[in-house]
């Protein structure tokens, strides 16, 4: 019932946005900019949202959300252009698309492939929007029952799970990155007693470290250094051809769409994972479910439908924990969190209660962004492709300059610039050594919540940790944390191997296994 009421409010919000020329102009401009950002290898959705956050500071919160969600949706989809046309994923989220999109382009079907990715991405975004509208009120109600212990454990679990799943090398490195982010969040006066921590006598650090310069430094500077240092050049762009919506091709894969959308929403809702993991998981699931798995990797439309639906539905999923718990579901959502706070909106259980219009507005913006993305994708694709021809040595310095302006513009503080550059250089080295940056950012964002919640919880319990084990949600989170940590110990790995052997032997015992 509440869902239908929210859909009604969403329809009203959609109407009011549609009659505002400024909102529509901003929407199309930000979606187009997002597609360009996504299409250009090296520029990610996170960087796009981060750069635009500083620009939207002067706008009211609705228009700011129009711009930010517009660029987010556009950038996640835009990655498919370079994935299909030059075999280089524009964003990590479109890496799975490149596996099958590029072979299709080589067969002269680039236009059809992009038509499929456009329609699949639009459907994914709409499914994500429905998920936000449907699940956010339920989780908000649940979150209102949470005490500080639950919030501390949620933040801690978010950092650990993000570190575990996004690391390109050892899980340990993901956790170290998360803890370094937690440490950065502690710099400044603590919020309970106003005691200066790790400020080293610098008054500029008293108010803490802003997230935006750190994000711009951690995502923008390493990209610039890496692209210029490794001379990453754009390969020959495949012929595009005519782009049609390809409804029949997409809708004939209805089971793939449903499965991928659900995977996207589910993965998006897990703190800190993001669109790339959603796309890969969905790609794997589609391959497993396919009657022709041998076609995957050689130019399968089911594969690109799966990855593109999942990465765009992940956007809605990532907004659910952001709006209801104050925990971002993906790195771009982490940037949105910073943006919301800049506009005086504090993500968490009270956000939707104090701002009842916010959720329907988000639904309306996502719906319109999906429509704008589809229109641009079908009618302006050839203009977007032209951007792919900009040489990286020209583009990357401009991105660096935008990072400088973006960092400074937040509070007009030159100290933010002084922080951004060393953080960027350190992030580059961390990336080279296999440390993921997303957990660092998640740690930095969730740090204040973890710190305050732990101390408040212990204040209430007079220093006792017992409520952590007596409250059901707390206990589940404790078990999840213990399992996440224990899974990395050798004894747990041996145990899983033994269980795997045991389960493998089972069919042999039944007489129909490999043992014969």
């Amino acid at each position: 019932m509440q869902f239908l009421t929210l859909l009604g409010h969403m329809a009203a919000s959609t109407g009011s946005l549609l009659i505002s020329p400024l909102a529509i102009a901003l929407l199309f401009a930000s979606v187009f900019l997002g597609i360009v950002f996504g299409a250009l290898p090296g520029l990610t959705a996170t960087l796009g949202v981060a750069l635009l956050t500083t620009v939207t500071y002067g706008l009211d919160s609705t228009l700011a959300m129009v711009s930010l969600l517009g660029i987010y949706v556009g950038a996640v989809y835009g990655g498919s252009y370079s994935a299909v046309l030059i075999n280089v994923p524009g964003t990590p989220a479109s890496a799975a698309t490149a596996l099958d999109g590029y072979p299709l382009a080589c067969r002269g079907e680039a236009g059809k492939a992009l038509g499929v990715t456009t329609t699949a991405s639009a459907i994914g975004t709409v499914v994500g929007m429905i998920a936000v509208i449907a699940f956010s009120p339920i989780i908000t109600r649940l979150a209102l029952q949470f005490t500080s212990f639950e919030f501390f454990l949620l933040a801690f679990f978010g950092i650990l799970i993000s570190g575990s799943l996004v690391t390109p090398d050892l899980v340990l490195k993901g956790w170290i990155a998360g803890f370094l982010g937690l440490f950065l969040s502690l710099v400044g006066r603590d919020r309970l007693q106003s005691f200066p921590r790790f400020t080293f006598g610098l008054p500029q650090l008293d108010s803490g470290i802003d997230v935006v310069p750190i994000l711009l430094g951690a995502f923008g500077i390493p990209q610039m250094i890496g692209t210029l240092k490794d001379r990453i050049a754009i390969k020959e762009v495949q012929k595009l051809g005519r782009i049609l919506p390809e409804f029949r091709t997409v809708l004939s894969r209805f089971p793939d769409i449903v499965r991928s959308s659900l995977i996207g929403v589910g993965i998006g809702a897990v703190p800190g994972l993001g669109e790339d993991i959603a796309a890969w998981t969905s790609y794997g699931a589609a391959k497993k479910a396919s009657k022709h798995p041998e076609e995957f990797g050689k130019g399968s439309y089911s594969a690109i439908v799966a990855s593109e639906t999942a990465n765009n539905s992940c956007i809605g999923g990532a907004l659910i924990p952001l709006y209801t718990l104050g925990i971002p579901g993906s790195p771009p959502a982490a940037m949105l969190l910073g943006a919301l706070m800049l506009h005086g909106l504090t993500p968490g259980p009270l956000l939707l209660i104090e701002n009842p219009k916010f959720l329907p507005e988000t639904g309306a913006i996502l719906l319109l962004a999906a429509a704008a993305m589809w229109v641009i994708g079908i009618f302006l694709a050839k203009q977007v492709v032209k951007v792919l021809r900009i040489p990286q040595p020209v583009l990357m310095p401009i991105v660096g300059l935008l990072c400088i302006i973006g960092s400074y513009s937040l509070g007009n503080n030159i100290f933010n610039l002084y922080l951004m550059v060393p953080i960027g250089i350190v992030a580059y080295f961390l990336g080279e050594m296999g440390y993921p940056i997303a957990p660092l950012v998640i740690g930095m964002i969730l740090g204040p919540m973890a710190d305050e919640s732990l101390r408040r919880a212990l204040m209430v319990s007079q220093g006792s940790f017992a409520p952590m084990f007596t409250r059901p949600v707390s206990l589940i989170l404790v078990i999840l944390i213990v399992l996440t940590v224990a899974s990395q110990f050798p004894f747990a790995k041996k145990l899983t191997d033994r269980l795997a052997v045991f389960t493998k032997k089972a069919p042999a015992a039944c007489g129909d296994g490999e043992g014969k």
Binding site: Q193, V421, G431, L454
Partner: protein
């Protein structure tokens, strides 16, 4: 990312840093109030601002140790010896940087000098154009020998600027004339363009000119967009931005003034 074998050696080296960082956090947090009274409020151990730093510091120490043993397990004691040797080698021999290191140095040096030297003191348009001209000309021709020469040129031109500001001359001239620092900034930018064009050679001159034009066009487009449309100021608004303000407010729209 580094190849796996080098990665594990880097892990051993980085594990020392992680342990040290964790220990430093714990030691620093020991100075925070614990179980004492602060601003009239009784501060029990569990309210202490040191609580989370202890958790993070201890966590980092433990994870650093685990990382050390993971690296050691895969590279053996040979890996550890090589890591320790490489640390010692840093103080003894300094091999000439390879092409990759040179390119890394070129990007970081340009960005660091722009942010720490030019942006806070020289007009935004000049600083931004200098950054773009330097990076674009160094990297667009995909010639490491040229990159090396242009990097040396860029650093040589930055040296007098550092001396100018470090000696206090910059501040003194600025007291007399607010836009004083833009003069050496602009002069060195022009010098860089002229000398770099000569270094690049005649056959590349056309492309070089195009890059210079782009480098100037970008800040000249960004200033009106950010300043007049979005009301976002710049780190240093010197002579060029003031001139643009004059055009915007006095010539084009005098009512706003």
């Amino acid at each position: 990312m580094l190849p796996k074998e080098r990665l594990r050696r880097a892990d051993i080296l980085f594990s020392f840093l992680v342990v040290l960082a964790g220990a430093a956090i714990v030691i620093n947090a020991m100075g925070f109030p614990r179980g004492a009274e602060l601003s009239g409020v009784r501060n029990d151990w569990y309210v202490s601002p040191a609580l989370m730093p202890y958790v993070i510091g201890t966590g980092l120490v433990l994870m650093g140790i685990a990382l050390f043993f993971t690296g050691l397990k895969e590279t053996g004691t040979q890996g550890l010896r090589e890591v320790l040797g490489s640390i010692g080698g840093l103080f003894i021999r300094r091999p000439a940087p390879g092409a990759g290191s040179l390119r890394f140095l070129a990007v970081t040096a340009t960005v660091v000098l722009t942010v720490f030297l030019y942006m806070p003191r020289v007009d935004f348009v000049i600083s931004a154009a200098f950054l773009l001209v330097a990076l674009m000309t160094m990297f667009a021709f995909e010639d490491d020998a040229l990159l090396r020469r242009l990097l040396v040129l860029y650093l040589l031109l930055a040296a007098p600027m550092i001396a100018y500001f470090a000696s206090g001359l910059g501040a003194r001239f600025e007291e007399a004339f607010y836009y004083a620092s833009d003069i050496p900034g602009g002069l060195f930018l022009v010098l860089y363009i002229l000398l770099a064009a000569r270094t690049a050679g005649r056959e590349r001159r056309r492309r070089f000119l195009r890059l210079v034009l782009i480098a100037f066009a970008v800040p000249l487009i960004l200033v009106p967009v950010f300043k007049y449309l979005l009301y976002i100021p710049f780190p240093r608004e010197g002579g060029v931005v003031a001139l643009m303000d004059y055009v915007r407010f006095d010539l084009l729209d005098p009512v706003q003034e």
